[in-house]
Amino acid sequence: MPPSTDWDEIKRLAADFQKAQLSSTTQRLSERNCVEIVTKLIELKLIDVIFTTDGKEYLTSQQLLKEIKDELYVHGGRINTVDLAKELNVDLNQINASVAEIVKGKEVQLVSGYLIAQYYLEKIAREINEKLQLQGQITVGELTLQYDLPAELLQHNILEKYLGKIIIGKQDSSDPRIFYTEEYITRTKAKIRGALTGLLKPTPVTVIINHCNLADRLFMNLFDQINAPGVLTGRQAGALYVPSCYSKSQNDWVINFFKQNNYLEYDALSRLGISDPKGYVKRILVNEDLTFLSSCVIGSQIKLQLDTALEDCILSKSYMDVVSLLPSVLSDSDIINVLDELLKNNSKSTILFENTVFSNHFIENLKQNCMLMAEKKAEAVVKSGKYQQFYLEKQINKATEMSQTTYIDHKAERREERRRKAASGKGGGGTQGRETKTKAVKKHTKSKQAAHDSDSDESPNMSKKNKADLEIITTEDVETIIKETLENEGLDDLLTPISEYIQRSLNQSALALAKEIADKLIQDTSQNRKQTHSFAQDKINILINDIKLYEKGFKLMPSDQQPQFIKYLLKSLGGDILAEFCKYAGNQCNLSVQVDTLTIEQRNKIINDLPDEYKKTLVALNATLSDQNMELFYQAVDVCLSECGMILKKVDKKKDKLLIQNHREKLISELEVCDEPALCLHIAVLAIFTILTQNMLHASGRQVPIVISFLKTQIKEEDFQRLQYYHELVAKFLTSSAEEKVDVEDKLKVELPALKNMVQEIKKYK
């Protein structure tokens, strides 16, 4: 029956269940029990154990020590206590307590939380040695980073301890924290030496160090040991290494350059890398006599050259271009400086134009060339009266100036003074206006240019008056003369300054010359006046005498013909007398009368120009000339003579005869040489008249027929006929046309010798 079996089974299961429940529980100590027991034991201080952090394990302290040591070994001799605590699952305090125990022995030490065994240090030492051998150089700092150990420990307990034992190397004497191998030192030395030997120009130390991959310090240390071919400018990192070959070649270059050229340019030196060219030059060229200029240094040789050139120039009376003698690098100001010094001693015999030195002689020669022109000009200026005019004006100016300043009121004066001060910047507030002005006048004579400048600020009327300093010679005049000379020398670019210079002095000398000439002229005229006086007196006397003689002559003529003769006589000889008077009066009054014979117009002009006292009498005389009255003429002449302080000499009869004779001879000789038919007839007639009447006759050509008809009664018939015929031919010749003229001329030529013979005949006959 299934249900019963089921229930049986249940009964059995219940029994099983009871059995299971009643079966004794396993008699083992559960974990809980163990913990309880151990706790109890610890409480009772029966055992000394250490809990693990999770509390599941217990350790004895001996076990802990052992485990720590094992861990230390496993980790290669170095372990952090914190790591240890984690690793061993033991409280850090317990670890620390144990560690203190361990450290008591000498094998292990505790360094900043690390347990470090001796063999670890040895191992490190070996490592370091390897590294050192590899790198050649090692620093404690580097190692500190690598091993995370205190520098001191590394320094004292490893490096210094094992130095020479495990670590083969050397400690840097200057820095105990650096170690290197002997090989490294030698290698580095070689490297530095190589670098330094290879260098040809100054190089910053940092560059070398970077290039060679070195430490500053090592470089500095080793540098002293190497005997490098050069010097360091300093001990700092910013120092410069200057190879001796560089400084040597620098010096060589400088010395050579100086030797060759005798100058040194600062720029060139700076380009060579010399920072203080002046000082450097002083140092290098100790025994040289140097002149320091703004941009360069020049040696004594150049100066000597200049000196000799200058002497040459002075001696040879020529010029020299300083620029060509000086190095081309000199600036203008330098050239001026050099020249200043150079010309200090010779300034009297030289003149400087721009950069060319001229000997005074050279300039003087040029000036001499112009002298002729100057003289001419001076003469011309005096003759034209310009100089006198200028001189007078100057005098007048001075005078007016004086007077002006005296009456200028205070206000104006002050104003003027102020203006002048502001303009000229001259000090001396005390100077009076007048003084300043005279100064200004003096200046005019010095240079026209300067006068213009200073004048521009003066009051306008002043400048107007003083403006014209007489410029006899212009710059252009000088230029044209000296141009050729200068062009030949290739100095045309200096033409203008030289010309101006010469013009100035030349103008001065020309002025002086002009003054001289003018003075002389004045002297001459006053001397001449006396001469002219007697000369004019004589001349007028002669003329009057002649007139009287001629008067006598034409008195022989028929009276109806006489007025004609009087008219002609007054017109010709009377005119001459008037002219003489005019000349004399002109001279007296300083009017220039240049020509010897005056035309009527000139005469009138002079008369008009004359002062009143002369003018009146001469006008009266002039009037008588056209009056045909000899008496009136004589009276007028007398008035004129007395006006001019002259006397009429008494007529000497003997002298008159002689005069007539002379006149006759003169006529005859004139006739001998004469070829002109009309003139021959005229002379012949006059000569015959004189021979026959023993009187002179003054007749014009028109009056010739009258004289011929007068002679009719005196001479032979045939002679008269001949004269008549000849006269007809002449009249025909003068009026005839061109074709007939030749014919008549031939006839006249045939008759001419006969006419001349006739005069001779008549003379003999008489």
Partner: protein
């Protein structure tokens, strides 16, 4: 939820398969069999883990269960009587475990000494309806209850240790 050790314990108890109450005649037998097997296993497990904490037996029909349970605190064993009936609606309804000895001594208890189970118990039970049996109810309900309540009660002095003559050791 239940703690880790409880869960472990639970998982080691075999699960039941038959869904049957005391009224279900044959099926109840099968169920009862399974109940016993589970209990045996559970007890064995407890013994193996040195964690034996109750004695239990039933009447013939397996509907009424009684026994003892104990709790060790401070090395002292406190023992309590345990009883419960299998409800008609079992296994849908969990059995109401009762500790009559503690009736009125604690708030976590219904009249008649029936223990108040945690909030988690009922849903957990409901979810595992045919699978959980008496063993599970013990492990899941009474065990934790004891672990929480007894030390508290001892502390309060509600229960005191009674020297037992034989069974304690």
């Amino acid at each position: 939820m239940v703690d880790e050790s409880t869960r472990k314990t639970l998982s080691s108890i075999p699960l039941l398969q038959t869904k049957a109450g005391p009224r279900d005649k044959e099926l109840w037998v099968a169920r009862l069999k399974e109940e016993y097997q589970a209990l045996i296993k559970y007890v064995q497990n407890n013994k193996a883990a040195d964690n034996d904490w109750f004695r239990l037996e039933s009447d013939k029909t397996g509907t009424r269960w009684f026994g003892k349970c104990w709790y060790v605190h401070n090395l002292l064993k406190y023992e309590f009587d345990l009883e419960f009936d299998i409800p008609i609606t079992y296994p849908t309804t969990a059995p109401e475990l009762a500790l009559p000895g503690l009736d009125g001594k604690t708030a976590k208890m219904y009249r008649g000494g029936k223990i108040c189970l945690t909030d988690h118990f009922k849903p957990l039970w409901a979810r595992n309806v045919p699978k959980f049996g008496i063993a599970h109810a013990m492990a899941l309900g009474l065990g934790p209850w004891l672990a929480v309540e007894i030390p508290d009660l001892i502390e309060k002095g509600v229960i005191t240790y009674q020297e037992k003559t034989d069974e304690a050791k």
